[in-house]
Symmetry: C2
């Protein structure tokens, strides 16, 4: 049995990133860049008008002869001589010899004669070529998460594919004879299985899509067979239940038979003490205790960081900070505790309901208060407590 | 031309929710409940053991006769008499006459005789029927967003379908002769179109999946034809570009020809002044200015709240707060401004780059500093500024 900080240190040791792959930029939402991206064009790619108005060529003149028109998207390149102007629109290419673009509201036109009100600044209302970014320069650094704005910026530079960290393939294995699926009749002694959907939707929320769910009865051979199969076919395996010390908890024995390398088993914490973390070849296997709040807590603290790092996130652990406790709370027992809590305005309130059998606390909680080992006693009101923010 | 606050007030007037629909609970991630949900069973549905150990029937006895075993999932119902016990496991149904469950670590067994160390508390380690929730009582209130924990809780109660607010059908229409698609050769005067992907991925991030993208050249008849078609087939239409006052901005004229009811046109703001918001039958139409930063700002401030409310979110506007300005900033012009900024630790820094032609600022920004009309002058360092957090 190890401490929470030792367990986190172990997880840190095994963090690894998925092997980068190329992806079409428009499919890239929320992926993380695995390589720097360089601009393939100047942006804007030509001197661009920032206004609807007139491009002029001149110094101090107030009267110009209009010789043509350039719309956005036109490829015709006028050569303006001194004293000449063209009608121009926002986004259109400005003739190279133009000295400025005058906003139409500040002009008057009689036939082909343009009159402007005052001498413009040099290059006024012209977005010069490469002003936003120059061809070949760094457009986006490795590690950037592809938000809508980031994707749209790369698309504006003509980038079609990018190198990103891949999404892992994750198996969820649910054990327990008492579990039936929603829609089935609830016989005496049975409950509706909800951990697979809890884990699957949490993974989905992290952007992971390749999720396969398996169910196995409390049967040794069937458990061995299934764990062998899923360990070979996935990057991560999340087992729920069957890892405690009961006579029908077969997961631990099955993991031994399969020679899964134990990284740690049991953490001095509440909830979620009987947690197993191990590996075989490239696959990491978590056996999470089956009480829903234990399952989710072990997942958040020890599995989610592995998954996030695999996805390219360099800061994969849940964020910690200090908040002021609104109401005193009595801590029982000597194990470290993750107490569901609500953080608002730099204050934190610990929820009354902390049963590991109930998931409902997580519906309103947005954080844990983390209580280290041997903190039994009363957490006093108005003291600073360590808080871990939930995703 | 109206002010920002008038425009927001107009949007508030037109907020409406989608017509609720039934959805399978496992497809419900991030949907919002449109009806209260009541528990269909007691949870737990039977008295449940919280431990691996022994269920006993007795008062002060320390010795019991073991008469059988109950595993998790067993439906066999023992009737314990005084002085009797059964071996029991976590999650298994506890015989109705049992007085307590004793954890196995605190027992010793010789043949069928169980010895316990001390008199247990009444009902110790027994989760009573309906302790978590009782059949028929409120399990989850209307308005709750379906997080993984919320879904898993409802599944544990046997809920198979829920009433939720639907996702809207949204059309994106991109106008402009200068726009070409990534992968195409960049001719002089052209740029890569990136607003459709900006809007589509932002919608996707909000959970909206039914998105159709259309492109139209700067041509009056084609614009009329397309806008007519998409207005009939969608809940919301987002047009990008063509709404300014240039001779080739056909969107405004097309909206008039189609008798789209104008709610407002032009807002005294920077960026994004030439914004149109209108409606026809049940469809709301936004014509967003085409500069990317203007497009996104108008979307965030006036379109996103309509969409979020449609999705069932009662607080659909971006959150506002006050933060301390890290570095002074000079405001030019009298229009209200949305300045891209970074908020960290209750402090806010306004980005140097604020061009409406550039989307790149939004990659690092996580907020706007909102500057009301007629605030031209210098925003002083260490003053409180109004901040609007980005999604």
């Amino acid at each position: 049995m190890i401490s929470v900080s030792e367990a986190i240190e172990k997880v840190t040791t095994y963090l690894y990133k998925g092997i980068p792959k190329a992806i079409a930029i428009d499919k890239g939402l929320h992926y993380i860049l695995a390589s720097d991206v360089f601009a393939e064009i100047d942006m804007p790619p030509f001197p661009q008008s920032a206004m609807d108005g007139y491009a002029i060529c001149g110094n101090k003149e107030l009267i110009y002869t209009i010789i043509g028109e350039v719309k956005a998207g036109d490829s015709k390149q006028f050569v303006l001589k001194n004293g000449e102007a063209v009608r121009i629109f926002t986004g259109a290419p400005v003739p190279k010899t133009a000295t400025a673009v005058i906003m139409q509201e500040k002009t008057s036109v009689i036939k082909n004669q343009l009159k402007i009100e005052e001498t413009p600044l040099q290059k006024q209302n012209i977005r010069s070529r490469g002003e936003q970014i120059k061809k070949g320069s760094l457009a986006m650094a490795k590690g950037q998460k592809l938000s809508p704005s980031a994707i749209s910026f790369l698309v504006s530079l003509g980038i079609t594919t990018v190198q990103v960290y891949p999404k892992p393939k994750v198996a969820i294995v649910v054990t327990g004879n008492e579990l039936i699926q929603i829609g089935e009749r609830l016989a005496y002694g049975k409950i509706y299985e909800s951990n697979s959907i809890l884990l699957a939707r949490t993974l989905e929320q992290e952007g992971i899509k390749s999720i396969n769910v398996h169910r196995v009865a409390d049967n040794y051979e069937a458990t061995v067979r299934l764990l062998k199969q899923v360990s070979m076919a996935n990057d991560f395996v999340l087992v729920s239940g069957g890892i405690s010390v009961g006579d029908y908890d077969f997961v631990g024995a099955a993991l031994k038979e399969l020679h899964i390398e134990e990284i740690f088993y049991k953490v001095k914490q509440k909830p979620g003490k009987p947690l197993f973390f191990g590996k075989q070849n490239g696959t990491f296997i978590y056996a999470l205790p089956g009480n829903p709040a234990s399952t989710l807590t072990c997942f958040y603290m020890y599995a989610l960081p592995m998954l996030r790092y695999y996805l390219g996130n360099d800061n994969p652990f849940l964020l910690r900070s200090q908040k002021t406790l609104v109401k005193e709370y009595e801590v029982k027992g000597v194990r470290a505790q993750f107490l569901k809590a609500i953080v608002a305005n730099n204050m934190v309130t610990i929820l009354t309901q902390q049963s590991s059998a109930m998931i409902s606390g997580f519906i309103e909680a947005n954080a844990y208060v983390y209580v280290p080992e041997f903190s039994n006693g009363v957490l006093q009101k108005n003291t600073l407590q360590e808080v871990i923010m939930l995703p």
